[in-house]
């Protein structure tokens, strides 16, 4: 798995945190927002699209470390093909789906990545035995499916807001489902490139 850290600290958010004077007064200094781009995170799946039942390990990701992980508990979200699950709630029961051990949750919001600056906790949903918090299917969740090109495109303006398995928050904008943004070859599919901002301070709901 090649995840490349591009930048750890975004100058963009310095201005924001400096505005929050109340928080500056508190005794423990706040950790800074972590803003990163993850490139070509591979999320393979076996089967599907008329090739039999879907199976295969999910690719798990941890926002606090900014890395993919194979831990069975220390993960926040996980990818398999176009499916995204969270480490919270219960399993839908598909093949090879990991047990949920944390309290992660998610919702989708429409807007630009920078304009979505606060978490709305009432919107959170967890995975359940009837469906995932991030709905699957073209046009339902984070992507549109173009049947004539057999192509999955992230819907512009869709931001995924997550609660991590241990109660902090992150927001994600998926940029591409294809390796190096190149959708011309089918084999390039299932490589995620996304931006995220991680709020490492427990209880702080702003980005």
């Amino acid at each position: 798995m090649k995840t490349i850290k591009f930048l750890t600290l975004s100058v963009l958010f310095i201005g924001f945190t400096s505005c929050s004077e109340d928080e500056d007064d508190s005794s423990t200094p706040l950790l800074e927002l972590e803003s990163q781009t993850i490139t070509n995170l591979y999320a393979p799946q076996i089967g599907g699209q008329g090739q039999g039942d879907i199976s295969g390990e999910f690719t798990k990701f941890n926002f606090a470390t900014g890395q993919s992980t194979t831990s069975e508990t220390e993960w926040d979200i996980a990818f398999r093909g176009s499916t995204i699950i969270v480490n919270g709630g219960v399993s839908l029961g598909t093949n090879d789906e990991p047990a949920r051990t944390g309290n992660a949750a998610a919702y989708l919001e429409t807007g630009t990545f920078t304009n979505i600056s606060a978490v709305n906790p009432v919107l959170f949903e967890q995975d359940s035995d009837t469906g995932y918090a991030i709905p699957s299917g073209g046009g339902n969740g984070w992507y549109n499916y173009n049947p004539s090109l057999n192509q999955i495109d992230p819907i512009p303006g869709k931001v995924l807001v997550f609660r991590t398995h241990d109660g902090t928050y992150a927001k994600v904008e998926i940029l591409s489902y294809y390796k190096d943004f190149d959708s011309s070859v089918g084999a390039n599919a299932r490589y995620y490139t996304f931006n995220y901002v991680y709020q490492p301070n427990e209880g702080v709901t702003t980005f």
Binding site: G50, T110, G111, T112, N115, G137, N146, G157, K158, L175
Partner: protein, 691 residues
């Protein structure tokens, strides 16, 4: 390019020979003074084109012959505001006032063509070899013609024989191994006239994209047979009978391993008995029947039948009309008729049958010398969808001898087609299902019973009613201006408000993760713009014409989404999303903002020669959403605008022999990625013999 060089060189040599060695003057004694162009489609009565309150265009046989057109698609593409758009099945449908092919009614001698397997009526299947005139009426015309005449009507008027026995043979040979051969023979004497026409058109097709095993257009061959008979019982009673048969075979391939054949067969028969009771009263009794049959199959390499499909549509239409002319300044026309339609098709839930009686009436009057008013309405009852009432009003007022203004408002509709009502199709490899509106309740119940349905998103009660016909109100306001006798200028501003557009939506999830789709009335769409046409007869020998159409075609729901800030895009694939504004919405797919044409016709009467150069232009357009937000916006990829130039030169010798040479698409424009119906440069030679 696979040009048959031998044949072409032969034509070229012949052409040169006759051009160089036959400089004797060809007397053009038949320079008849016409009373002005006459059109029948606009009012279903013979009307002078120049005094019509509706936007209409005529294409004459002379123009068709001068440009050596072969198919209806060739010649219509050169007319202002018209463009053919290829569909997935390879057919070419006409776009008129920014409306899709399914909203324009195509008639031959006043009766409709059928065979819209996926909505598109492929006009490249119509030969122009025996066409006397093409009439194009723009704006909703359902008040006379009922369903499909939402954007307008295109009526192809075929040749009628002249007195005596005449015949002609026409042959054109061109690039891509394309051969077009026609023969026509006509006889007319006293009470009887009869003519017969046959056309053979074949081509090796072409391939714009060498990377796959398929051709862009596979080789095909078709035949058109047409015969007409008229008989005058006496001065007052006339009989007209015509028959047309079209058959086409084409190779059909889905991949290198899957090959087969597609075939089309179509016949049309029309019989009409006309009687004049006196100076004021006249009536027609007409019977029309047509069948369109399309079959195709694919076999694997080891001759296993991979897939087969068929489409078999029948229309039977008796109609009775009466015209009454109380004065020479006014005319009534009224008619009643019955459409009976059946379809047998692969993937249908039943063998549907449509029955639709209808009645129409129209009053055309000139209350004053300068004012013309047309009022009309039609009522279509229907067995499968809500009945339609289609009124229309049109006015024309002569401000001066040089300037007239005109305007019309009309209702147009298009009935839901068989597919939208009865389709029952499940994709074998991917597993999704498409159901027609009427097929939903029973099929969903079956799928629920078999445990295939996980979630039903739309309650079945939504399918208890009837699917509405797509309908529109069309407005046209224009002016005819003739500042000098040799210059004609026409301007028309149009707006079509279309409601209840039928679209597909997901109605249920299946256990296999795929969706069930069905049809529903949803969108509100409009097309608006202006059309400008001008013709300048510089001398009797030189005619210059130009046309332009400005078009905005938009979905109102999409406009609202942009206005409400719900649409986002990325400037580059890797950049963060930005919010789009109303101005960023381009509109519907496959619509160009600008289309224009420019033509110069030069008649060297003394030389028995004529030559022309024609250019058509369409500005950039989008074929599909390329940046994931499902809308066509400023940041999508567009097909670049393009211009196509054609030239033709013809020479007549010994009065009855006419040779032609020409190049279509002179600069060999192609866009192999996006435009499948432009094969590249076409060189051709043609020969026409009259006897």
């Amino acid at each position: 390019m696979s040009l048959n060089k031998n044949n072409f060189s032969l034509f070229f040599l012949l052409f040169l020979t006759v051009t160089v060695f036959s400089q004797e003057r060809v007397s053009d004694s038949t320079k008849t003074e016409t009373l002005g162009e006459v059109i029948i489609s606009a009012t279903r009565t013979l009307r002078q084109l120049s005094s019509l309150p509706l936007p209409a265009q005529l294409v004459s046989k002379k123009e068709i012959q001068a440009v050596n057109s072969l198919r209806l698609s060739d010649i219509l593409n050169e007319q202002t505001g018209l463009i053919t758009v290829p569909d997935f099945g390879g057919g070419e449908g006409i776009q008129l006032q920014g409306l899709d092919s399914q909203y324009t009614l195509i008639l031959i001698d006043g009766v409709p063509l059928i065979g819209r397997s996926a909505g598109t009526l492929d006009i490249s299947r119509i030969t122009v070899g025996n066409i006397k005139q093409i009439e194009i009426v723009k704006g909703a015309s359902s008040s006379l013609y009922g369903s499909e005449a939402l954007g307008g009507v295109i009526n192809i008027i075929t040749d009628t024989p002249k007195h005596g026995t005449h015949g002609s043979i026409n042959s054109r040979v061109g690039s891509f191994e394309t051969y077009d051969t026609s023969a026509e023979i006509g006889y007319k004497k006293n009470k009887i006239s009869i003519n017969a026409f046959i056309n053979n058109f074949r081509s090796d097709g072409y391939d714009l994209n060498d990377t796959d095993a398929l051709n862009t257009v596979e080789p095909f061959e078709n035949y058109t047979f047409n015969t007409k008979l008229t008989y005058d019982f006496n001065d007052k009673t006339h009989l007209f009978v015509s028959g047309r048969y079209f058959t086409q075979g084409q190779e059909y391939a889905a991949s290198g391993d899957l090959r087969g054949e597609s075939s089309l067969r179509e016949w049309n028969t029309q019989a009409k008995l006309s009687h004049s009771y006196n100076d004021k009263w006249q009536s027609d009794v007409e019977f029309y029947a047509t069948r369109y049959k399309a079959d195709e199959f694919l076999d694997t390499e080891d001759n296993f039948r991979f897939s087969a499909s068929d489409f078999n549509q029948l229309l039977i239409r008796p109609e009775v009309r009466a015209t009454y002319n109380p004065t020479d300044k006014s005319a009534f026309i009224a008619g009643v008729g019955w459409n009976h339609e059946t379809l047998v098709r692969t993937d249908f839930s039943s063998k549907p049958e449509f029955n639709s009686p209808y009645a129409f009436v129209q009053y055309d009057t000139n209350p004053t010398e300068k004012l013309n008013v047309i009022l009309g309405a039609r009522f279509d009852n229907h067995s499968e969808y809500e009945s339609q009432f289609s009124p229309k009003v049109a006015l024309r007022y002569e401000l001066s001898e040089k300037l007239a203004v005109k305007g019309s408002v009309g209702y147009g509709f298009k009935a839901p087609d068989f597919r939208q009502l009865y389709f029952d199709f499940s994709n074998g490899t991917v597993g999704y299902t498409v159901l027609g509106y009427n097929a939903v309740p029973t099929r969903i119940a079956e799928l629920q019973q078999s445990g295939d349905i996980v979630n039903l998103f739309v309650p079945l009660t939504d399918f208890e009613g009837q699917l509405n016909a797509e309908n529109s109100i069309g407005f046209n306001i224009g002016a005819d201006y003739n500042p000098i006798s040799s210059l004609k200028i026409n301007l028309n501003i149009f707006r079509n408000n279309i409601n209840d557009l039928i679209d597909t939506r997901i109605i249920a999830n299946k256990i296999n993760g795929q969706n069930v789709f069905s049809y529903y009335n949803v969108n509100e769409v409009y097309t608006q713009g202006l059309e400008f046409n001008s013709t300048l007869n510089l001398t009797t020998e030189l005619k210059i014409s130009g046309g332009y159409q400005l078009l905005f075609a938009k979905d109102k729901t999409a406009e609202d989404a942009f206005e409400n800030g719900l649409v986002f895009a990325r400037e580059t694939p890797s950049s963060p999303s930005i919010q789009l504004e109303k101005d960023d919405y381009f509109g519907l797919y496959n619509r160009s903002r600008h289309m224009a044409n420019f033509k110069v016709f030069y008649d060297l009467i003394d030389w028995g020669m004529d030559a022309n150069i024609r250019g058509t232009y369409r500005s950039n357009y989008g074929l599909f959403d390329t940046n994931g937000n499902t809308y066509l916006d400023r940041y999508d990829d567009y097909v670049d605008g393009y211009a196509i130039w054609d030239i033709a030169i013809n020479k007549t010798i010994y009065k009855n022999y006419r040779f032609g040479l020409g190049i279509d698409n002179l600069f060999a424009f192609t866009d192999t990625q996006n435009i499948s119906n432009i094969p590249g440069r076409i060189l051709y030679g043609s020969l026409n013999i009259q006897f």
